[in-house]
């Protein structure tokens, strides 16, 4: 067992004018036994990163350490890392038991020991009852478990899961998420989960590393990413429905700092810390963000007024799309709310939940 440390890792494909900088100065520390999700949209460089950790791709510059062992240039089989893929990649003409024990067979372990380990892992994944079945007879979720089991049986020091759930139905996905989380709790092994789905990432991981444009944007737990996103990208990518963003002008009065949203008559009251920081910098323009979850009907001192355009009933909640001037934004409402399009509503918020970003660099203003 060991942690994983990526230090200034770069990956450049090709050379000269056609070269692609797929991963740029990436730093990431995963401590021993931690569960970290590597999250980003497709093409952000997360797959290249994972392939470098596994050893399927060479590193252009930088270092990767497992514990304090530099594995940057080792062959994949010398790294003691296991990987479960998006596609199940099981051998259809082997039984589940044979599929599981195959990596041990390759290592030349005695049959007795193979059997013992297979039983252990099957118990852990709750697939003991299907050990004699063949993969085509299994459901998607079961195949996924067998595939996980085969990766785990070698007892790797680092375990990587690549988009393992993107093929599963929503219901199945949720139960698999819980299973995987239980599994990690029992194994306490270093796990890196690669995904483009923020729900999976937040649900599973102790910490989430958000990548975009070949760079690491932010690493943090759910509350950090939600409440203190490093930049507009993170604020937009994390959270569903996505954050409402407003281009806004700042006016400084004697005591108040007022943010007026362009193309509307909306004003926002920033939190005290943000207001102080704004005053110090005296900036004239900001990008303001507020999450739909943080706009509601519970009365507070501050609200936005807008006309309802779409009211969607979603069962557990409702979602409102509202408009003021040409500015359109969304709010989450209780499911029993019934409003007709065209109705004017007040949406209340706490100043603390107003996020402010620099309009040029798009980074969070403290």
């Amino acid at each position: 067992m060991s942690g994983v440390s990526l230090q200034k890792v770069n990956k450049i494909y090709g050379s000269g004018a056609d070269s692609v900088h797929a991963v740029q100065d990436l730093d990431l520390e995963v401590s021993d036994g931690e569960f970290v999700a590597l999250l980003g949209p497709s093409g952000c460089g997360k797959t290249s990163t994972l392939r470098m950790i596994v050893g399927l791709e060479s590193i252009t510059s930088g270092q990767i350490l497992f514990g304090d062992r530099d594995i940057s240039h080792l062959d994949p089989q010398d790294r003691n890392v296991a990987m479960a893929f998006e596609t199940y990649a099981l051998y259809p003409n082997f039984t589940v038991a044979d599929n599981l024990s195959f990596p041990l067979e390759v290592l030349g372990l005695p049959a007795e020991l193979q059997r013992k380990k297979t039983d252990e892992i099957a118990e852990l994944l709750r697939i003991t009852d299907i050990l004699q079945a063949y993969p085509p007879e299994l459901s998607g979720g079961q195949q996924q478990r067998v595939s996980l089991g085969r990766a785990l049986i070698r007892e790797p020091s680092v375990f990587i899961l690549d988009e393992v759930m993107s093929h599963l139905d929503a219901h199945l996905k949720f139960s698999m998420l819980f299973d995987l989380k239980r599994l990690h709790r029992e194994l306490r092994r270093t796990m890196i989960y690669v995904t483009h789905d923020q729900v999976e990432a937040l649900a599973l991981a102790d910490r989430v590393a958000v990548m975009s444009n070949a760079r690491m944007q932010q690493v943090g737990d759910r509350n950090t990413l939600y409440n203190r996103p490093a930049n507009v990208f993170v604020a937009d990518f994390i959270g569903e429905p996505p954050t409402n963003f407003f281009r806004a002008e700042v006016a400084y009065h004697d005591h108040d700092t007022i943010i007026s949203v362009m193309d509307s008559d909306l004003t926002l009251q920033p939190g005290t810390a943000a207001a102080t920081s704004l005053r110090e910098s005296q900036r004239k323009e900001v990008i303001a963000g507020i999450r739909p979850q943080n706009l509601g009907f519970a009365e507070t001192a501050h609200f936005l007024t807008a006309d309802v355009e779409i009211s969607e009933y979603l069962g557990e909640r409702s979602m409102l799309t509202v408009v003021n001037g040409t500015t359109r934004f969304q709010a989450i409402a209780p499911p029993d709310l019934r409003v007709n399009p065209g109705t004017s509503v007040r949406l209340y918020y706490e100043p603390l939940n107003v996020m402010l970003f620099d309009p040029e660099t798009e980074t969070l203003i403290a």
Partner: protein
């Protein structure tokens, strides 16, 4: 008169995919067929469109029987799950295809294609090929091809379920604003209950062999599911299913879980539902949002002690699997809180959200017999 009528259609003799399916969609109505994958939803659309012929039953569009009409003689527009765009033609030509098939004059064709592209925000992509645009843009192109056709019936097959969450969200909102869809009859197929609730004027929940378990408006379906299957299909996380016994004593009516770990005093509503029900056993369904971990008990609130099994903090809620003795319950929490496995928590159960189903038939108990 309904605009689209499906009357007792069957497909497949030995292993019926669709067995006597009937429903009607009014003019201007948005009808959603909701069900898990592989249940026959797509087959239903293919039967309506004429790509397949039913073995029995009739399909009426605008009052005329079109069961035997080939697809190109029907005025039906359909999107495919795979988009089915013509890869060798530009986005413009893809959208223009139905108009070219009808030999519309060039200037009118041009105007309509551009209007639709503008509406769907793909006007800047008209010269590209489908291979050169993103998934969301492909779906918009496919949608454009159906919208431009000015059909009598729209059939939409999982139009947004394969897109990323963000684009899915955006397109779902757009479906609300596309007025063309609200003018004729639309049948929309999905496996995502939130999509169904959001978009449908009425929803049909499809079970095996194309059987409609329940047809109703979104609130009906979610708040008064006709049977356990419907209750389980709608809602994320899935509703807690608690096989229970009914106990009556001097203090009132009680619900005891079979495991003995959960005892709830039933409210008036549940009492009414149980009127005329003679069995001891009942299946209780309780959605996770009615089960919450509580820090401080309010007056008269009954709290239960539980232990956290797994906890997942998501965006709007956290989801907690908690063990109550030998029973496992899913509860919703404030996502900002953090819970560790093994942590002891107090849980409040709101019995007003309880659904009761017949222990054998799993049909909702309404108290009316």
């Amino acid at each position: 008169m309904a605009h689209l009528e499906v009357e007792g259609i069957c497909k497949g003799w030995e292993f019926p995919v669709i067995d006597e399916l009937s429903f009607a969609v009014e003019e201007g109505e948005f009808f959603v067929v909701l069900g898990p994958s592989g249940i026959g939803k797509t087959t239903t659309l293919r039967l309506i469109s004429g790509l397949e012929t039913p073995d029995a039953g009739r399909i009426l569009i605008g009052g005329t029987d079109q069961t035997r009409l080939p697809p190109y003689r029907r005025r039906i527009a359909m999107t495919f799950e795979s988009y089915a765009l013509y890869p060798h033609l530009s986005v413009y030509e893809n959208i223009a295809s139905p108009l070219r098939a009808r030999r519309l004059p060039a200037n009118e064709r041009d105007k309509r294609v551009k209007d639709v592209a503008e509406l769907l925000r793909i006007a800047h992509l008209l010269d590209r090929r489908p291979g050169e645009v993103s998934g969301g843009q492909k779906q918009r192109t496919a949608l454009g091809r159906t919208l431009v056709a000015d059909p009598e019936v729209f059939l939409l097959d999982e139009p947004i379920s394969h897109l990323d969450a963000k684009i899915r969200h955006e397109l779902r909102t757009q479906f609300h604003t596309l007025e063309d869809l609200r003018k004729v009859a639309t049948v929309y197929v999905t496996h995502d209950y939130a999509e169904a609730l959001s978009l449908g004027d009425r929803i049909g929940v499809m079970g095996t062999r194309g059987r409609l378990e329940q047809v109703g408006n979104p609130r009906d379906l979610f708040e008064r599911p006709a049977n356990l299957k419907v209750a389980e299909h709608l809602g994320q996380p899935t509703i807690n299913v608690i096989p229970s016994r009914i106990r009556r004593d001097n203090n009132g009516l009680f619900l005891d879980s079979e495991t003995g770990d959960l005892r709830l005093k039933l409210s008036g509503e549940s009492e009414a539902a149980l009127a005329g029900y003679s069995k001891d056993h009942v299946i209780a369904g309780l959605r996770p949002q009615y089960i919450r971990p509580i820090d401080e008990a309010a007056d008269g609130m009954e709290l239960l002690s539980a232990e956290v099994d797994v906890y997942e903090p998501l965006g709007t809620n956290g989801i907690m699997m908690a063990n109550l003795g030998s029973m496992s319950l899913t509860a919703l929490t404030d996502p900002e809180k953090h819970y560790e496995t093994g942590q002891k928590v107090q849980i409040a159960v709101d019995v007003s959200g309880l659904h009761l189903f017949d222990a054998d038939s799993q049909v909702r108990l309404t108290g009316i017999t």
